[in-house]
Assembly symmetry: C2
Homo-oligomer: 147 residues x 2
DNA sequence: ACGGGTCGGTCCGGATGCTGGACGCACCGT
DNA sequence: ACGGTGCGTCCAGCATCCGGACCGACCCGT
């Protein structure tokens, strides 16, 4: 076979199809921070209202957010994370850490999280099996394929 | 003060300014997988050649990739990760895991990594201080204030 | 010498997506 | 009645992305 080699089927690409659009992950960040309403998100993300409305729709459709009515008469909605949405926390944390380490100004990171263990939260990615911190040099692709 | 509340200064937003453009993280993925040349990246990501060229430029400018000549006569270049680029591995892995868990078809994840410990790599995000897996409910923002 | 292939791009016109500003509607408080 | 808040939609302009064509420099086989 002369390997046609199309674009890779890949979970990274698929995930980015869901949360890779502009503002999507900042919306998720806001909800993690407890900011669940439209106007608040507009203010704290800086996204255009129109774009935000579109993003909220796609995130709800994708099952990351859930829209729920918190007021009947003037119909008012707020957005919460679904279980799938909460599982984006690792993604958000690793982005946060990279920014903290490579893009922080002299004032240090603008947002610091504390873990319930009493220390500042510094997120690390580890192997579930052995608990070691993961290094790219220590991982290999299984079945370089099957093609 | 009636909190003006502009867009949040935030490492997540800053990181996304660097790697949040379309295709950027797929380019990084390719380099992690050892695919370091232009044409290869075009084939395996599916990005338009034009867009890829632009992305490579911004990633090099941002210090994520490094361009190096591997052939003189017909000038040929390849792209490698810088130290900062390698530190994006956690981001890539958490995206991968989310996709594996939420978007995989019946065939399972299309790309499986093995850790040098002998097991399949399932990346987890843990607290560096205590080693526990991080849960959103167990973290709090430090100084919800200060402005 | 010639045709075909590879590699790493650039150029182009058209499609898609983002942008901010204005507007709409329902409600609340005074 | 009036102004303010909350949650959007609509629109027109602009930026970005898209795929396909094209390019120069080289290599290979004949």
């Amino acid at each position: 076979m002369a390997a046609p080699e199309g674009p890779r089927a890949c979970s990274i690409a698929r995930t980015l199809d869901v949360v890779g659009e502009k503002w999507a992950l900042l919306v998720v960040r806001e909800v993690f921070l407890g900011n669940r309403r439209f106007d608040g998100m507009v203010r704290r993300t800086g996204a255009p209202r129109d774009t935000l409305a579109a993003r909220l729709r796609t995130l709800v459709d994708a099952g990351v957010l859930q829209r729920s009515r918190y007021s009947d008469h003037p119909q008012r909605f707020e957005y919460e994370l679904t279980a799938a949405g909460r599982e984006l926390y690792p993604v958000v944390l690793t982005l946060l850490r990279w920014g903290d380490e490579h893009l922080a100004g002299p004032d240090g990171p603008p947002l610091v999280l504390d873990h319930h263990c009493g220390h500042q939260l510094v997120p690390e990615v580890t192997c579930r099996a052995c608990g070691e911190v993961v290094d790219p040099a220590e991982t290999v692709r299984r079945s370089p394929t099957g093609g």
